[in-house]
């Protein structure tokens, strides 16, 4: 290699005959320089880069330089200054590189954060992301954070959520878990939302409850931060005259950050963050980093809560819409039923007169016919069939009338007594006793007297049919939560469950003609009165029929 005459290098060459470092060689073979590692092969031929990157830090070069200084060459002092300056610049460059790297990581984190915040409309998810970002090591790395939300109605800031460990031990567990997992911010937030959100709310309940500050308290640090729209780094909280001692006591830390959450001039709330466990000082750098984070959080919180409110309104609207649809269908159905009712009623009335004439004359003839007359049997059949048809007509007419119940206030015990009287002959005939066990001073119920009488009558006759031999029917009445309950139980053969189901299905003829729609009709009438019709096993061993009639308002 040709070294220009008088150059520092030529001086150096002159001063030192032999050099320990390989810096004078333009080209190196692999292994010539112990500082060039694998992957750095291109430095073997890049002489200038090799000197700057490797030689200046090489101990052999330092030795060569020392010998050069000792040679007393006039350039040796300057040469050392240049080399030291180079080393300083290199170190500055490295630190700048580190700073840039940390900023790049921060920007990446903020980008990830804002992406999550921008795409989420779920309030819990936004909260989880925001609070995880503050407290996770991958995020801002604070120990603990509290979120306070602005309560518009109460005109106050209220503690809403706290996140972080409460003790050193808990902190240790949390951080160990976090270190072992390699989760992204979103995944961490999801895990938090799934497993911890509710428990964290409870965990910090005692502090959250006391973190309520009226928005009118102008001098409070929270309101100051909101007013200035800037985060405040509180230091020396215990002795700071601007800080309420109760707040410092409550948080138990000397230093904390207060970050206002403001979106489009609206005060959304506030975040308090501190290092309650590590006691690591909070720097201005922390404050600046988090300042950029508060706006997207405030915006996302506002959007999520608006979305939540919107969802509630949509749900209400959907419910109203489906209710409207139901009502419309009901109206159509009722109109159809009313029409059917009118037609049925008209037909039934037209049939009733001829039927009573046939049956009536048959009865008349039967009275005047000898016992052993063969025609007697025919007449008896006519009388019986006419009676059954009359019963069917009665039920059909009750059905059509049931479409329009005339509600009024009635004493249910009196009604039951009347029905008992009416059926007393039938009970005697079947050798069945019917006992009323009424609760005294029951309020009046809002019912259609005739329709409910029909129901009680139908239930009692149905009960009678299940009793073979001597039996007992007990009617109990009592008051219960806005209704009067009437329970009719018998000691007859219990009805099989499939029979119970069939009994309350309209218009399925399970028994002989004439009683097919009795109980289904009762169910329909009772439903129109807002009462369920329960058929179950009775304490007496048979069947129990329960109805719940609404108490007349004001009774």
């Amino acid at each position: 290699m040709a070294v220009p005459e008088g150059s520092p290098l030529s001086c150096l060459l002159e001063a030192c005959v032999e050099f320990a470092c390989c810096w004078t060689k333009k080209e190196l073979a692999p292994g010539d320089c112990p500082n060039i590692g694998e992957g750095e092969e291109e430095l073997l031929s890049a002489h200038r880069r090799r000197i700057v990157e490797k030689c200046v830090e090489c101990p052999l070069f330092a030795d060569d330089l020392l010998r050069f200084q000792e040679s007393g060459h006039p350039l040796s002092g300057i040469f050392s200054i240049v080399i030291n300056e180079l080393l300083d610049l290199k170190s500055q460059l490295q630190s700048l590189g580190g700073f840039l790297n940390s900023k790049t990581r921060e920007i990446k984190f903020l980008h990830e954060l804002s992406l999550v915040l921008q795409t989420s409309v779920d309030l819990d998810e936004v909260l989880s992301v925001a609070m995880t970002a503050i407290t996770a090591g991958k995020g801002f790395g604070m120990n603990r954070a509290f979120l306070l939300m602005a309560d518009k109605e109460q005109q106050a800031l209220r503690g809403y959520l706290g996140v972080g460990p409460r003790t050193m031990e808990e902190a240790w567990h949390i951080w160990e878990d976090v270190n072992q997992s390699n989760l992204t911010l979103r995944d961490m937030a999801r895990l938090f939302q799934k497993d911890k959100l509710s428990s964290e709310k409870v965990k910090f309940n005692d502090i959250l409850e006391r973190l309520t500050v009226p928005l009118s308290e102008q001098q409070h640090v929270f309101n100051r931060a909101l007013r200035q729209r800037k985060p405040i780094l509180v230091e020396n909280a215990f002795s700071n005259p601007d800080i309420d001692p109760a707040l410092a006591q409550l948080l138990g830390v000397d230093s904390f950050l207060v970050m206002p959450l403001i979106s489009r001039h609206r005060r959304i709330g506030l975040i308090i963050a501190d290092n309650c466990i590590t006691r690591k000082p909070i720097t201005n750098q922390d404050l600046q980093s988090m300042e950029t984070f508060t706006f997207p959080v405030a915006f996302a919180l506002e959007r999520a809560s608006l979305y939540e409110r919107l969802q509630v309104e949509i749900d209400k609207l959907t419910a109203a819409n489906s209710k409207l649809k139901e009502q419309q269908e009901l109206i159509v159905k009722m109109e159809k039923m009313a029409l059917i009712g009118r037609i049925t009623s008209s037909i039934a009335h037209s049939i009733r007169n001829p039927l009573m004439i046939i049956g009536g004359f048959a009865r008349s003839l039967l009275k005047n016919i000898e016992q052993d007359d063969t025609k007697r049997n025919y007449l008896e059949t006519i009388v019986l069939q006419a009676k059954q048809l009359e019963d069917v007509l009665e039920e059909v007419l009750t059905y059509s009338e049931s479409l329009h119940p005339a509600l009024d206030a009635w004493d249910i015990n009196q009604l039951v007594i009347r029905v008992q009287d009416e059926l007393s002959g039938l009970f005697a005939q079947h050798k069945v006793s019917c006992v009323l066990e009424p609760e005294s001073e029951l309020p009046k119920v809002s019912i259609d007297y005739r329709q409910i009488s029909y129901c009680i009558k139908t239930i009692l006759t149905s009960a009678l049919e299940t009793i073979t031999g001597e039996g007992k029917i007990v009617i109990r009445t009592w008051r219960d939560d806005g209704v009067v309950v009437v329970a009719i139980s018998d000691n007859g053969t219990p009805l099989p469950p499939e029979m119970v189901k069939t009994l309350t299905t309209p218009f399925i003829v399970t028994q002989e003609l004439g009683v097919g729609i009795g109980l289904p009709l009762c169910k329909m009438i009772l439903e129109k009165h807002g009462s369920p019709f329960i058929i179950e096993n009775s304490p007496e061993g048979g069947t129990q029929y329960i109805i719940r009639l609404p108490i007349k308002e004001g009774m």
Binding site: R352, I357, I358, G359, G360, K367, A386, E394, L397, R450
Partner: protein, 120 residues
């Protein structure tokens, strides 16, 4: 013997009632319309009227009002195929209400009850 006026536009029913109520020991006169009933009431003395509500082109309830207005001491039992009129305010003027049935026992019981009340 109590004298009854049976008002019904259906001749077969008038025949059935006459026969059955006569067998039960009453003197029965029948009328097929409101006008005929008014004529009968003006012509003779009656102890009770059995009145159908749906008469051909006429309302038995109108006739009931007329009877109550002019002969307020005359007991009237409404006997009809319609149970719904029981709730009708106009029907409350009657002394009794019976739904028509091939079994005339209920009607006979009601007549006996109303007459007993009248003679008390």
């Amino acid at each position: 013997m109590a004298r009854l006026l049976v008002v019904d536009d259906e001749s077969s029913i008038r025949l059935l009632y006459s026969q059955e109520l006569a067998d039960a020991g009453y003197d029965v006169v029948t009328a097929g319309s409101a006008a005929e009933a008014v004529t009968q009431l003006e012509a003779g003395e009656f102890d009770l009227v059995v009145l159908d509500i749906k008469l051909k082109n006429e309302s038995g309830l109108d006739l009931l009002q007329k009877i109550v207005k002019e002969r307020h001491d005359m007991p009237v039992i409404l006997c009809t195929a319609f149970s719904c009129y029981k709730d009708d305010f106009s029907a409350w003027l009657a002394d009794g209400y019976v739904v028509k049935s091939s079994d005339l026992q209920e009607l006979k019981d009601e007549i006996r009850k109303v007459l007993a009340k009248k003679n008390r």
